[in-house]
Amino acid sequence: MRKIFRIVFALLLLFSVQNTFAEENHEPAHAASNEKFNAGNFIFDHISDSHYWHIITWKGKDVALPLPVILYSSNSGLSVFMSGKFHHGHSDYKNFRLMFEGENKGKIIELGTDGHALESLPLDLSITKNVVAIFFSLAIMLWVFLSVAKAYVRRKGQAPTGLQNFIEPVIVFIRDEVARPSIGEKKYERYLPYLLMVFFFILLNNLLGLVPIIPGGANVTGNITITLFLALCTFLITNISAGKDYWKHIINTPGVPWWLKIPLPIMPFVEFLGVLTKPFALMIRLFANITAGHIIALAFFSLIFFFAEMNVAVSYGVSVVTLAFTIFMTCLELLVAFVQAFVFTLLSAVFIGMAIEEHHAAEHH
């Protein structure tokens, strides 16, 4: 789905370049020693973070945008350089090496004076592909929403125009269908900015993830770190703004036999576990949905390469089918992009609503 251009292009080139492919491609990730196509690596490379922004594979050579590497280690202090210095893993830079295989695949390891890898990895604060994608999406959000806000101030009380028309129904939807019913009429306005921010961030990154060419195509919302952070935000907001009833409910759950609370606090333990599992489910749901979509679409593409290794004619035939499948998957992913952004926002609102709810919480369950 991402990189469709690259793959389609590669598909056309595949047969003419088949021979040179093996000779010229020294990139370990693409099975340097073995010309057999490795779908696992292929898919994995596309959905994981990277120190390069891969644009195209041209005649077996990877054309990629080098990104800044920022490393800190107790041995060599702070080091800042472009990832191009690694030459796609062909050479070390200073005492750092970008690994393309093994346990630390995709990571930068530090080499000791004797040329052997050190046990501890340096602290990697590099501007990776996902970081750039985040910056890009946040820049778009800044631009879009600041200009929309300006339009609201400028055209006070008037009908919306242009971009406003596009954004307003979504904002009103989040407000009236998500925040209001879940959090309640009294307090929803306090949490609305966060819900809007999360919704638009996830939606925008889901959509950008479907764009196959730079600056889209990064698997941001399908990255566990991003979903971890977003879920953590919801977790913190939920528990910081939680009312007395919420904690009372956890410690002394009403409607449960006393022997489940004393002497062994089984119920409080279960309830407390629930506090943690809610954001954990948020994190996994978004990550799994987006990643799975990408994997399926890429797997369909991999079929083309599999069959190409067997028979060129078969590959042509299969490519038509897989393209159809991939288009179908992309449409499905388009739907998933909206649904997952909505679900994350809705559940965040529901969790916040449950935490700040007064009295009612004690009556249910």
């Binding site: 994995f44 959905i47 994981s48 973070d49 920022i70 695949k105 995709g106 602290l123 990697d124 604060l125 590099s126 501007i127 990776t128 996902n130 970081v131 985040i134 910056f135 946040l138 959000m141 800044l142 929403f145 600041l146 929309v148 806000a149 609201y152 101030v153 006070k156 009380g157 008037q158 954004i167 307003e168 904002i171 009103v172 407000r175 306005e189 609305l192 900015p193 966060y194 809007l196 921010m197 961030f201 990255n223 566990i224 770190t225 991003i226 971890l228 952070f229 990550f287 990643t291």
Partner: protein
Amino acid sequence: MELVTPGIGLLFWMAISFTIVFLILKKFAWKPIINALKDREDSITEALNSAQKARKDVEGLKADNEKIIAEARREKDLILKEARDIKEKIVAEAKTQANAETQKSIETARLIIQNEKTAAINEIKQQVAELSVSIAEKVLQKELKDKKEQEALVDNLLKDVKLQ
């Protein structure tokens, strides 16, 4: 495993950039947009309400007008009726008064006539008395001459005497 292992660097940049952008957007975008939407919705609601109120007012005015017109009509009828009553009363009164006046004049006339009549009778009476006296005188003067003459004389006299 790497797929489900959070990266420190990514988390770091994500936290910083997301928080900064969130704070900027919260202050300069979300709040103004939310407020503007709310203001606009409030003003629309208000406008709709006032329009409805105006419509109700107009309807009220219409009802009032009709009431006023009905009132005026009733009043007009009342006034006309009163005027008719007054007219009839005045006419009746005038009639009564005229009758009384006529009666009075008739009465007066009758009184005058009575008086005149009484006076005439009295005068006649006086004249009769005077004539009687003068006749008596003359009769007495000729008393002795002839009885026939006397009788002729009385007849003559009586001839002369006529009730005026």
